[in-house]
């Protein structure tokens, strides 16, 4: 087994909102490990505690109890950060600087010296596709461009481990693919990547291993494939001229989620039930407009799991 690059042991975090007499427990003793050279997905619905965990790993927030280490160093130290890159959620940078200036600033802070700094900054700007806007002020940058600046600053000192908080959320489809390719490129270079996300399709396309967190507790840790195969797959079936009786029957028998009736009905059903649903609908004289596999977002899987098992709790 490869060495643990990140090790989190029984971390508990209580926040005291406002004046804070009553503590609110956000992390309930979580443990997991990230191994060398993998893209690790830390996955869970909004409010699960992903960002809080990452802030603990970055030494921004102190755990109430428990231990965390990165590259074998306790997270409160600052020296090991020479080997660590971090992209915060919705990153923001001094907008009066240009892309080149901000990268130069972070490179200086990371101890990249002399001529090496200039070439490093230029090659990174090119790598993230910002060479055209390198000397423009960040004030005018779009969200996708800022995200690229964020990734570039995380890499400016050629770190061994990169931590990304929701690197692909809030981007348009093209931006997401671009960022995803950058992340896959990092693995090709032998980096270890830790990535927070709440979007299942991103996990599927990028992560080797995942830990699933909900309500401040780890629900699963293991290979991505194993997790996704366990998740239920759904399809959207769109039908025309489906009568009310048949609609009601499908709703009952297949637990279909129906939206719209009559002329155009949309049914969300389990993938394995699709052919049965279609057969029944056709027999009732309906017309099939489309069938599309539906990607369950993790959030939905979890809401379902938490609601049915009753083991979850509000965070």
């Amino acid at each position: 087994m490869a060495d643990a690059i990140v090790k989190v042991e029984a971390i508990v975090k209580d926040f005291r909102p406002g004046l804070g007499i009553r503590a609110k427990r956000v992390l309930h003793g979580i443990s997991f490990e990230v191994r060398e050279g993998e893209i690790f997905g830390f996955v869970g619905p909004n409010g699960a505690g992903k960002t809080t965990t990452l802030k603990i790993l970055m030494g921004l927030v102190r755990p109430t109890s428990g231990k965390a280490s990165v590259l074998g160093c306790p997270v409160r130290e600052s020296a090991f950060r020479r080997h660590v890159g971090f992209l915060p959620e919705n990153p923001y940078f001094y907008d009066f600087l240009t892309a080149r200036e901000i990268l130069d600033f972070y490179a200086k802070l990371s101890g990249v010296r002399g001529a090496a700094r200039k070439t490093r900054v230029s090659s990174l700007l090119e790598w993230v596709g910002l060479e055209g806007a390198a000397d423009e002020r960040l004030r005018g940058f779009s969200k996708g461009m800022l995200q690229r600046v964020g990734i570039a600053q995380a890499l400016v000192h050629d770190p061994k481990v990169i931590f990304l908080d929701e690197p692909m959320s809030g981007l348009d489809p093209i931006g997401r693919v671009a960022i995803r390719d950058l992340i896959l490129g990092l693995r090709a270079e032998g980096k270890t990547v830790f990535m927070n996300t709440h979007i299942l399709s991103d996990v599927e396309t990028t992560c080797d291993r995942v830990a699933i967190i909900a309500g401040g507790r780890i629900r699963y840790e293991g290979r991505t494939r194993a997790f996704l195969d366990g998740a239920e797959r759904l399809s959207d079936v769109v039908l025309a001229r489906l009568d009310a009786v048949c609609t009601a029957r499908l709703e009952q028998r297949y637990e279909a989620l129906v939206t719209g009736i009559g002329d155009r009905a949309e049914l969300r059903v389990r993938e394995k039930d699709v052919s049965a649903v279609l057969a029944e609908a056709l027999r009732a004289g309906a017309e099939v407009i489309s069938v599309t596999p539906y990607r369950v977002s993790l959030e939905e899987t979890f809401l379902a799991a938490v609601a049915s098992s009753g083991t979850g709790e509000a965070s």
Partner: protein, 259 residues
């Protein structure tokens, strides 16, 4: 060690770039210059000692607006980095919180000293214009305002390491005023005849900055000689007092959750 100094210098340089973008800074500087310029008009109303009035008003302007810039521009700087989350990326680099606070402090101090230099230049020019004496004592007094500002910047940095800009500026102004009066507090205590009160007043005097130590206005304006010790002792005191405050700020900041 060298790495640490380079990081602090990088942070300080960036802080200067941030601070000189502040509109408030230029507003305060502008009014400081206006006050120095109008001192000429005010002094012309008086037949006697008009040069002294020019210089009295000038010193007051430099002190008030220097302190104003130190406090009101200073208290926002750390808060902005937290509020805009620029601090997250900073601290994910091999930058300790001590280095961050030191960089902020030095950057702000440098900015304030530039303003002091501009105000002082205007002051010297006005003095020359009205024929007031420009002596070594005058420069010594201006230099000690620089030392006083070192302490005031440290006060602002300390409060902004754990509270909002609003509260930090109120507290900083409070400590500044108390610091100007700390000798009076000591005397009041001693004159009270009550040992408890005297001891309390003395304790307060020790904790509060003794800002009057930095005030050589009277000597400078009246052309009185200033002994080396009158400059060097306050200078050493200012450096020590600021260093302690900045370390206290770093200690407090180190323990904060940044969220």
């Amino acid at each position: 060690m060298i790495d640490s100094c380079l990081r602090i210098a990088t942070l300080a340089e960036n802080t200067v770039r941030q601070a000189i973008r502040s509109r408030l800074l230029y507003t305060l500087l502008f009014f400081g210059l206006v006050m120095i310029a109008t001192s000429v008009a005010v002094s012309s109303l008086s037949y006697v000692e008009s040069e002294r009035i020019v210089q009295d008003v000038g010193f007051a302007a430099i002190r008030i607006f220097g302190v104003g810039i130190a406090i009101f521009v200073g208290v926002g700087l750390i808060h902005d980095e937290i509020e805009r989350r620029t601090l997250y990326t900073l601290l994910s680099k091999p930058v300790s919180r001590m280095e961050f606070i030191a960089g902020k402090y030095l950057g702000l101090l440098f900015t304030v000293w530039i303003q002091l230099a501009i105000l002082s230049l205007a002051f010297v020019l006005v003095s020359l214009a009205v024929g007031a004496p420009v002596t070594a004592s005058l420069f010594a007094a201006l230099g000690l305002i620089g030392a006083e500002l070192m302490v005031v910047v440290a006060i602002a940095t300390f409060f902004s390491s754990f509270t909002t800009p609003m509260l930090a500026s109120l507290m900083s102004v409070g400590i500044f005023v108390a610091g100007r009066l700390s000798r009076d507090i000591l005397q009041l205590g001693q004159g009270s005849g009550d040992t408890g009160t005297a001891a309390a007043a003395e304790a307060l005097y020790r904790v509060l900055p003794d800002l009057e130590a930095f005030d050589l206005t009277v000597q400078a304006v009246h052309g009185l000689p200033i002994a080396d010790a009158d400059v060097l002792l306050p200078l050493a005191y200012g450096i020590a007092y600021s260093a302690v405050l900045v370390m206290a700020a770093a200690w407090v900041f180190e323990r904060r959750d940044l969220r």
